[in-house]
Amino acid sequence: MELRKNYFADVRKDDLHEIGQPRPRSDSPGHVTGKTAFFADRTFPGMLHLKMVRSPHHHARIRSIDTSEAEKHPGVVKILTAKDVPHNVYTILILIQVGPEDETVLADGKVRWKGEAVVAVLAETERAAQEAAAKVKVDYEVLPAVFDMEEALKPGAPLVNEYHGQNYYLYDSGECRKVRFGDVEAGFAGADHVLEQSYQSSPIEHAPTETTGCVVTPEGNDRFTCYTNTQAMFFTLDNTSIILQMPGSKLHFVGGTVGGGFGGKVDVIVEPIAILGAKLTGRPVCFIYSREEEMQISSPRAAEKVVIKDGVMKDGRIVARKVTGYTDAGAYSRHSPYGAQKGAGHYPGPYTIPNVWIDTYCVYTNRTPSSAMRGFGVTIGDFALEVQMDKLARLIGMDPLEFRFINAYRDGDMKAHRQPTEGAALIECMQEASRAANWPVAEKYLAMSSYVKGA
């Protein structure tokens, strides 16, 4: 790695003692000796293992659940169903007033995706829990399912989630988050070329080497200590408090050493049910996702569809950009309404465009609920935007890097969401890339600066 101190030297103080120094990491000695304590490195006598019975169907009504055989299985201590969960319907962002509550901790009457948690089995050993889980009988009436976002948005599509009432998240702005800036249709009308293209992704897994999980132990004083690899301690504690209708003062979360997160451990999935198990049995409980659960049950990065329509002039100026983004939330909200909204704030990318129209939708389908992942709301959008930029440059016969210089945002430029640009540095990154990659651009672009227009 190379630090290029010549850029922005005028606005930076480099005479610090500790900041800017490559100090050794304080956690590394623990890592290389195997001494670092991850949550699963704690074990307690009498600890129970929790295994989940999951839906084999994408969408189904639950006619009945029979746990009688499983309860008799040797080693089984407790079996939990929806009725055991004090506040079974929840949504994690309710803490910041993003509702409605739309997801069940354990399925109640219905499953909405293949893999949804239905019954929790607590047993003396992992093996006993697996065997008992296989004995739980759930009678399902299979319902039509919808997997494609466009299909889901059509009238008459199967309704994925009754708590929403339609297959999209309803923002205060309506069916989508909107940004309106300038007159996009006038921009297209005046453009030399108009190009509309569609981009698509599929779900992506965080794939941390350590799977999601927690170990809970009752402290004997009506408090519960939960060793967890959550990415957000109080977020998890507070949601657990709501789900279990238990004062937060009864909960003690210990974590902060996590075997990779990447956004995959921001959901609140394992802790509430494990703590409930510990409460109802009085015994320590561990609930650790198997690798298969981590891959297919834990929330992935949402699949997205992005449609971009641009008006561009022969001289390289983009004069209008319309973006329609669709985020595939799967069956429940989790962080997807937030992610879709983040997209609305991110488009049209780091470019100054006078006419912009953005609609971002959060769509429900019968698949694994998606949620946070490194850059979500932006990552797939950037793929779409930057491939589109390449296409536009080639359309007008311009070098793709020079084309970006022409449109790059600079300090003071008004963004589509009506914030003036501050602290821009796109131009300097491109100048340095031009040099590093030996990708020559005209001298005038190398003379540009993010500081002031025209400089």
Binding site: M1, L3, R4, Y7, E18, I19, G20, R23, S26, I96, F147, R177, R180, Y199, S201, P203, I204, A207, Q231, A232, M233, F234, L251, H252, G255, T257, V258, G261, G263, V266, R291, M295, Q296, P300, A303, Q341, A344, G349, P350, I358, R367, G375, V378, D382, F383, E386, V387, D390, P400, L401, A416, H417, R418, G423, L426, C429, A433, A436, A437, W439
Partner: protein, 334 residues
């Protein structure tokens, strides 16, 4: 058979912190009797190095070496609230909270030192090595060790501070979408060079040259860790990763590390990382959050390079050999 070469570029920006703000983090700092400093948080270290960076930020602010600072984090019985580690917010939000707490603690430390040295606190400075000196008269000094002892056992003072950082929440205007998503943005430009086998659709990423602007590299080696790993993940997203390879069909999802594809140690692109620093107005020592941003620009850069190599556009991620081969066959048919 032909191996065809191409290159592509992408430029991006990325907001630091939770979208639209409203995501607080708090920190507490106190000294021990012998002048070590404890930072208490509930922020989570996912492996990115939160604990180490908070120690360096605290040390810089107090004016002591980093090894005099211990970070105690992620215990809800002791640590004050943090919204969590996500949205490239950890360093920015928690760092600001630590600075505020450390400044308050430093002020008490200087006041105690001032009493001991019989000068005004405003006339004192730290040398960064564990001493407090009188400005302009460095022979007149006291160690932080002695100051802490004095505070605890003689003066009855608590060398401690509270820190809180909150960017007020922005509510988007319904019709226009006027809003403030973030207070600062990191930037990047990546050039990727690929080879495409036009008979199999297989892509080899030869080189990626990444330029990242991240505000301030608080610990350059740790920045490098994150940027190198992120660049790998970006390439991985571009060419390999999906839990549903036949999306929107739900079948054939991978359930292990053999089926869930990511580049192996034999697939690595020659990776160059260049870092620029334009300090952000509200970042801790100017830092922005590069953790997510660093995995983004490789995706379109690789996509554009594939087009440059073989003349087909793959607008669906991941850009698998199958998608390329289908596109090449369609191209040949036309």
């Amino acid at each position: 058979m032909a191996i065809r070469r191409g290159r592509g570029v992408a430029a991006i920006n990325y907001p630091t912190g939770m979208n639209l703000g409203g995501d607080p983090t708090q920190a507490l700092v106190h000294s021990t009797p012998t002048g070590n400093f404890m930072v208490t948080l509930s922020s989570v270290d996912l492996g990115q190095g939160m604990k180490q960076i908070m120690a360096q930020i605290c040390a810089e602010t107090i004016g002591v070496p980093t090894d005099r600072v211990v970070v105690d984090t992620a215990d809800t019985d002791t640590g004050p609230h943090c919204m969590g580690t996500f949205a490239s917010r950890g360093t920015h939000r928690a760092g600001n909270a630590v600075i505020q707490a450390a400044r308050e603690a430093r002020q008490v430390m200087l006041e105690v030192a001032a009493e001991e040295l019989e000068v005004n606190a405003s006339d004192l400075e730290t040398d960064g090595q564990g001493k407090i000196l009188v400005k302009g008269a460095p022979q007149k000094s006291i160690s932080i060790f002695d100051v802490a002892l004095s505070a605890h056992f003689k003066r009855g003072r608590s060398i401690s501070g509270r820190g809180m950082f909150l960017i007020p929440r922005s509510y988007p205007e319904k019709e226009t979408g006027a809003m403030k998503p973030s207070t600062c943005y990191a930037h990047a430009c990546t050039v990727a060079e690929v080879e495409v086998d036009d008979e199999t659709g297989e892509v080899t990423v030869l080189t990626v040259k990444n330029v990242f602007e991240i505000g301030r590299a608080l610990n350059p080696k740790m920045v490098e860790q994150q940027l190198v790993g992120g660049s790998w993940m970006g390439i991985s997203h571009a060419l390999y990763e999906t839990t549903e390879p036949y999306y929107p069909n739900r079948d054939h999802g991978g359930t292990d590390f053999n089926q869930y594809l990511m580049p192996g140690p034999g697939d690595l692109a020659e990776t160059e990382i260049i870092v620029l620093e334009r300090p952000s107005a509200d970042g801790p020592y100017g830092a922005k959050g590069p953790g997510e941003m660093c995995a983004n620009p490789q995706i379109p850069a690789v996509a554009n390079a594939v087009f440059d190599a073989v003349g087909v556009r793959i607008d669906t991620l991941p850009i698998t050999p199958e998608r390329i081969l289908r596109a090449l066959k369609a191209q040949a048919a036309n």
